[in-house]
Assembly symmetry: C2
């Protein structure tokens, strides 16, 4: 496909590379910031523009990879003559794209995408389309860049987005909090990396609830009290510890 | 080393296999439940006993792999004639072992160990010893079964134990909560596995705080409100979502 990418952030950058790697052609990158637009266009062997009014009108697919809050505003400024247009947002209805074309849908990457990451991770996609033809086209396109593609309407996508926030954004924040704690307490966070990897990896084979370990699921009150006491100088961690302990006990109560 | 393992649970089972794989000899398994003791002894080519008074007195190392709450009671019932004895608990002082021998220490596996897991994960060990000689012996033994061994006193071990609970028990509980939510809402949890893996794996190369993604770090209030509204029928998840969102905003406020 000949593709125009609108946006220059993490999602635009990583999806652009993925499109290129699957032999699609990026004809143009559009971004407000000239430097960012030029840099991404260079990386993708594309031309660039900083104005939505100058978007190339001869592409097959327009990908709005802008922040969720900007999708509607950008769509309202585009006239794409019924060209196929998708956004990449988890929590935005596909219908906001009706402002710019009759043919639209969603190409939502269910991944945590940061442009500084060197390796391209596996990216499952949730796709949607305004018509059956649009949905078929978007599904086919997504399948050319990923072997995990599922069709999902606005509400289903929003639900998986919530679950994704829980299992990635919240866990990543737990890692960040634990790392800050280790730094403050002068213990080596890196010793935890094999543990972190194995807890994530075993999800491929086991139910998470069935392989829960730790003092809360064992009802080991002595350990829990020692931990809470040692967390006294870290009140935010202490209340988080308390909340998780209660939640684990509740899920596993006999 | 010729080893006696006291305990038949997850830690006893997985460490026993690891000892055997590193060419140590398990001479005996001791457990209250005869069936469990016999099963584990069979798996480890060892004899078994159900009575602490019948523990073989001719081994080089005694490993108390019992629940954290039972370590002190078991130690008080053992007389090991100054043989080297270790416990495997994160939150128990090494000194409770002074009841059974003058030579004691800690061999704490910093992993989430469940005996049903087929693959033996990498296991970093935190070790401690009552004397310099004991510490040297335990460090050498730990190094024969793992290439990640660190010496750590009671307090340092307890601090890493807290961090381990946060990054493994709490994240695993987040996975369990998200899986239950996906089942209730009829969306496919398995679509989240690549996301979960990549968030854990990139910790080897990036600071977690520096690669935080999601609506909270973007200050995307519209998405946050949509998520909170959709979580209305799940009040426990809703308050957890709220707490994490506030904590992420706090860490990343400009």
């Amino acid at each position: 496909m000949r593709i125009v990418i609108i946006g220059t952030g993490n999602v635009a950058t990583i999806l652009g590379k993925r499109f290129l790697a699957a032999d699609h052609e990026i004809v143009q990158v559009c971004g407000r910031n000239q430097l960012h637009a030029e840099e991404l266009a260079d990386a993708l062997s594309a031309s660039f523009t900083t104005g939505l009014q100058h978007v190339n009108s001869n592409a097959d697919l327009y990908v709005l990879a802008v922040s969720d809050t900007a999708v509607a505003a950008v769509a309202s400024q585009l006239q794409l003559n019924n060209k196929l247009v998708v956004h990449t947002a988890g929590a935005v209805s596909k219908n906001v794209l009706s402002a710019c074309s009759k043919n639209y849908g969603v190409l939502y990457p269910l991944q945590s995408l940061r442009s500084e990451l060197n390796e391209l991770p596996d990216i499952p996609f949730l796709v949607d389309g305004n018509t059956e033809d649009d949905l078929a086209l978007i599904t086919e396109f997504a399948s050319s860049i990923s072997n995990q593609v599922q069709q999902a309407g606005d509400e289903e996508r929003l639900k998986l987005h919530i679950a994704a926030v829980m299992v990635s954004n919240f866990t990543n924040h737990l890692y960040a909090l634990a790392k800050a704690y280790c730094l403050q307490e002068h213990v080596d966070f890196n010793m935890l990396l094999p543990l972190i990897t194995s807890v994530a990896e075993r999800l491929h084979d086991y139910e998470p609830a069935a392989v829960q370990t730790g003092p809360a699921v064992r009802n080991d009150e002595a350990t829990i009290q020692k931990h809470l006491a040692l967390l006294q100088p870290h009140p935010a961690l202490q209340s988080l510890y308390y909340m998780f302990t209660e939640s684990i006990k509740k899920m596993h109560k006999q």
